[in-house]
Structures are given as structure tokens and as C-alpha cells.
Amino acid sequence: MSTYLSETRYPLELAPAMPDVWELWQRAKTLEWDPEMDIPWEELHPERYPEEQIMAARLHWSRRTWGEYGAISESPALLLRFCLENRLPDLRFFFTMRTQEEGRHAEASWLMAERLGGYFPQPQNPPTATAVGTHGVRRMAFDPDTSLEGIFASLVCAAEEILIDAFKATVHKATNPAVRRLMELILRDEVRHIAFGWQCLDAWAPTFTPETVRNIERAVTQMIQNVEFNGYRNLWLAIEGGTATPLEIDADRVACEAGLGGTTPEDEMRIVPQFIKKIRARMAPWGVNLPMFDHPKLGKV
């Protein structure tokens, strides 16, 4: 124990300092759910779907599990940073719940894949793992040279925002009651996660230096170009010639059309440009100027 750096954690302030964030923590405690109990699994009926659709849905929910799994370690990495940097108690309290919720999303997505016929523990073509990996998020969270604001803007705001946008735009297409309920429950949690990110950044914005602003621009740009456009959420968005199999790339569309979750390319063509436009406008008051992005399928966005 004596070989470690000494930490300074006292005086230990615990009184709420950001009432809106404290409220999110309070709300999160009352909205806990259990993937085993709160999803109408008896209404899933995988036997009623053709094999192609079930395979697509299994791939879709397996990939969602891999993505949520990344958050199981990303979220605690940030929480640990809050603790070590003695950030406001509200942040620390809320993020413990976020960590728990990401774990629950991973479990629920895994259960969905399992009950649809079986979870895939890895991509069909292993190199696709680079598209759905955690993209050095943990390293970023622990890098003292990467400002917390940049991490928040890219991971807590932008990455979660596009997920919510895609869920919001497609939850009505999930005609399967079990799938729809799962999407609603995940969405309910993610709305709090994103609210947390924006509330923090809005509160910190008056203290942003030009360096902070550049840091945010860099982090968000990287997230969009290297993560979102790399197929992290939807492999159809990955640049042509990627490593995913055609089956994997098409899985989201097929699953979505079967009412089993996912998005179609048409959905993505609409959701992603709107998302980029929205966060560009949302971050502009902080002095953040996001560049235009070129994507072979989406065009200039």
C-alpha cells in the first residue's frame, strides 16, 4: 500500500452542487429495471420469424452487446477520473448509476440475442472488431492531457446523442413487443445520460479556454470520423471495402424491417445528417466550430 501515490480526498464534500445533475441521480435510482423481469420475453416468439431475419436480429443485438460492453469499462474509467480529480459529488454519484445502467444494457442486449437464438461473442469476420471496439476510450479517460470537456463532448454527448436519435427515429418500427420494450427502457436511461453530459458542459462553458474549445472540436471530430463512420453503431456506415461480411452489414436493415430493432440505410441517411447539424448548433454557443464531414454514402454533412 505504501508504494502507491497518496490521494487527497478530504474534506469530502457530499452536498449537491449541481441541482440538475443531482436530480438525474435521484431519478435514476427510482427508474431501475431488471432485464429478466421487465421485458415481456413471452411475447418475443422467435419461431414466428424466418431464419434470415432471426440471424440478422441476432447479429444486431450481439453487436449492440459489444458496444454496451465497451461502456462497462468506459463509464467506470470516467468515474474513477472524477474520484481522483475530486470532481463535484453530483458527477460521482450520477456516474455510479450510469455504470450500472450500461451493465444492464449489455445484459439486456445479450439476453435479447440469446433468446433470439444465440449471442455471437465476436464479429463473423474478426477484423470487424476494430469497428466495434472501444476506440481507446479508457486510455482517453485516463490521459490527464485529454481534457474532461473533450471526453464529455465526444463520448457523453455526441456518441450518446446519435444513439438516442437512432432509437427515437426507429423505436416505432420495432413491432415485436419485447424488442420495443427493451428499446424504450434503454432509451429512457440514455436520455438521462445525455442530459447529464449537456448539463455539465453548459455549466462549464463559461470557463472554456480556446484550448478547451479546440480540444472539444478535435474529440468530437474524431468520434464522428473514426468511430461513427467506422461502423461502430451501424456497419452500413463503415467506409466501403471494410472488413464486415455482407450479412453483418445488412443485418441492421433486415432486423429493422422485421420489427426486431436496428435501422435501415434510409433511416441513417436521415438521422446522421440531422444529428451532425444538431450538435453543431448545440456546441456553437461555446465557440466550438465543427467541420463539414465527407462520407461516401451520406455525402457532405
Binding site: 500500500m1 497518496s6 474534506p11 460492453y69 455504470t99 461473442p121
Partner: protein, 370 residues
């Protein structure tokens, strides 16, 4: 002259002197039947006014003087005076006041009788508030410690060990709820104290998160030290406090915390049961060393138990814990805690013996050989 200098120091106040005396008296009251008596005394300088300044009229309205209304604790059985609990000290104004009957109680001198009674309750509330604040200081490291352990599992086990990861993803939120519950309890008793003071801070300030992320330390050593030993002790102490508590709110908080902790401890022992049989000799030695380190440098240094803190630094908290235990507000006595520590060490040794891991006996002036 020395007393004069002491009393004139800007760091010395009447309130601080009275509150220190009150706390010491409270500590002496533990375990005794106490009668608290109060009355007003007039200090009258009639014929000795000289150069005295700052006084008001004494009882006769002419001589200089002031008033003191002490509240004294007396042992019912021995009739011995234990000490002052509280005192109100005041000077009357030379200005004519409006008729006594038309003034509200708060503005009358007779309010001191009510204040005197209140002071007796305040001492108890102050004690319990400190105890629950201390519990929050002890709960806080759990946030970072379990978070770091979760990251360690994610880094080391890849896609395997999902059960442990999902379980650990819940733990920080549970630790945060315990922390909030202790904070709220202290707040409702009069206010959470954020500063534990130097000695307690030193005893509480262990870098468990760094330990959990230390690649040179097998994860089994971290789980054995933090989960098997420290969490087990924490759970057993919690159950001891619960058994002794009579206040329903304190009982409910302790009951809920114990329920969670039971799972935390079970997690540690279940994981160890799965992994210990496969550990090589080097890793087993690291487990033994981590347990020894946790026991000697952390637990016996007063991380969980105030009576294990160095003498001179522990007395106010010890008095507070004794008073809180006495009134069933969520604490155990020193004797009860000593029994819990001994029982826990025996329990942990028995468990470890299954895997031929030995936790060597320790000698401690407060605990003896255990």
C-alpha cells in the same frame, strides 16, 4: 498570566471551550444513569468595580456583574458531579427593556432553561452526526475501489468473466447509495461533517483504486484483501451496529446497507473459491502479503475502528461513538467492536485455510493478540 494569554487568544472562544467540555462530559456519561441539573448564578462585582469594563448590571440593577446558567451532569448512583454539559453566559443591558410579559419567550432570560434542556439533546445529536459522517468517510473509498476493480476485470479478462463484470457494474452505485444514506443521516442529525481531521483522514486515505489497478498484484490478492477481509469486517460491524440500534431510521439504513454488503462479500468469497485453487505459488504469496498489508497497515491503523486510531486523535470520535451506541442510534461499543474484529479475523482465517493461505496472528496494544 498564561491563562490570561490563553483566554485572550483569537483561537480560543467561549463556544469552543464549552463544546469541548460538553463533549468530554458526554463521554464520561456513557453507561451511567445521569441527572442533568441547571440553575442560574450571578457574578456580582459590588464594591470591586474598579476598572472593570464590558459588564452589565447585576441582579440588584446597580453593581457590575454578569450571569451564568450552567447545565451540569450528575451521576445518580454515586451523586458525583461528572461535569458541565452546557452553559449560557450573558450580561444584562443597562437600557430599560419593555415589560417582561409582552416579550416572546425567545427574548426572555428564562429561555435559558429551555436552552439548557436542548443542550443535552444537542450533545447526543452532535455525537451521532459525527459517527454517521465518519461512516460516510469510510464508505467513500468503495466508489473508486470497485470502479477500479471493474476496469481491471475488463482489461484482463476480455470477453470472459462477464458475470463478475456485470456484478461489479452494480457495486459503485450501491456504494454511492450507502454513501448518500450516511450523508443524509448525518445531515438530518444536524449536518454532515466533511472534514475528518488529520488523523482520521490519514487512516481513511488508502489508495485502494491504485491497488486494484496494479498489474504487479494478482487480482485475487486485491479481491482477498478488499473483499474477503475488509468488506467482511465492514459487513460484520454493520450487523453489530444493527443489532444494537433502537432508532428505526438507523436500523433501516443499516439493514439496507448490510443487505448489499452481504452480496459484496459473497462475491469476493465465490470468486476466490473459483480462482484460488488454480493460483501458482508466486500469486498465492502475493495474496498472503496483500492480506497482511490490509490487516496491519489499514485495519489495525483505524480504517474501520476508531479505537484503533492513535491515542490523542481518537478521543472525541470515541466519545461520540460511545454516546451513539448508548442511545441506539447506529453504533457499537468499543468492547462490542473488539469482539467483532476478533470474530472476523477468525472467520477469515478459517475461510483462507481452505486454500492453505495463512493470515499470521497480530499483536496490537488495543486488540491484544488476534
Amino acid at each position: 498570566m498564561a491563562v490570561h494569554r490563553f483566554l485572550s487568544s483569537p483561537y480560543v472562544s467561549v463556544e469552543a471551550i464549552l463544546s469541548t467540555l460538553g463533549a468530554r462530559t458526554a463521554a464520561q456519561c456513557v453507561g451511567r444513569d445521569i441527572l442533568v441539573v441547571q440553575d442560574t448564578t450571578e457574578i456580582n462585582f459590588a464594591g470591586r468595580e474598579g476598572k472593570r469594563r464590558g459588564f452589565g448590571p447585576a441582579g440588584n440593577g446597580e453593581a457590575l456583574g454578569f450571569f451564568i446558567h450552567p447545565v451540569i451532569a450528575v451521576d445518580v448512583e454515586e451523586e458525583a458531579v461528572i461535569g458541565p454539559v452546557h452553559a449560557a453566559i450573558w450580561t444584562r443591558s443597562w437600557e430599560q427593556k419593555e415589560a417582561r410579559k409582552s416579550r416572546p419567550l425567545e427574548e426572555k432570560e428564562s429561555m435559558r432553561w429551555v436552552d439548557g434542556c436542548q443542550a443535552s439533546f444537542d450533545i447526543l445529536r452532535e455525537a451521532a452526526r459525527l459517527v454517521w459522517s465518519r461512516r460516510a468517510w469510510g464508505a467513500y473509498p468503495g466508489l473508486a475501489e470497485n470502479t477500479a476493480l471493474l476496469i481491471r476485470f475488463c482489461l484482463e479478462s476480455g470477453a470472459a468473466g462477464m458475470d463478475a463484470k456485470l456484478f461489479l457494474s452494480f457495486r459503485p452505485a450501491e456504494e454511492a447509495k450507502h454513501l448518500e444514506a450516511c450523508f443524509l443521516f448525518a445531515k438530518r442529525l444536524g449536518g454532515y461533517e466533511s472534514d475528518p481531521g488529520e488523523a482520521v483522514a490519514r487512516a481513511s486515505n488508502h489508495p485502494f483504486a491504485q491497488m486494484a489497478l496494479d498489474p504487479d498484484l494478482p487480482v485475487e490478492a486485491v479481491v482477498a484483501a478488499l473483499g474477503g477481509l475488509d468488506d467482511q469486517l465492514d459487513l460484520n460491524l454493520c450487523l453489530s451496529h444493527l443489532q444494537r440500534s433502537r432508532d428505526e431510521a438507523a436500523r433501516q439504513v443499516l439493514r439496507l446497507i448490510a443487505g448489499d454488503k452481504q452480496r459484496h462479500v459473497l462475491f469476493a468469497w465465490t470468486l476466490l473459491a473459483d480462482r484460488m485453487p488454480r493460483l501458482d505459488a508466486t500469486s498465492r504469496a502475493a495474496v498472503t502479503e496483500a492480506l497482511r498489508d490490509m490487516l496491519e497497515r489499514v485495519i489495525l491503523a483505524g480504517y474501520r475502528n476508531t479505537w484503533l486510531l492513535p491515542a490523542g486523535a481518537r478521543e472525541p470520535l470515541l466519545a461520540a461513538e460511545a454516546l451513539t451506541a448508548e442511545h441506539g442510534l447506529g453504533a457499537s461499543t468499543v468492547a462490542q467492536e473488539k469482539a467483532v474484529v476478533r470474530a472476523t479475523l477468525a472467520q477469515v482465517r478459517e475461510r483462507l485455510a481452505t486454500w492453505a493461505i495463512t493470515l499470521a496472528p497480530v499483536n496490537h496494544p488495543e486488540l491484544g493478540r488476534a
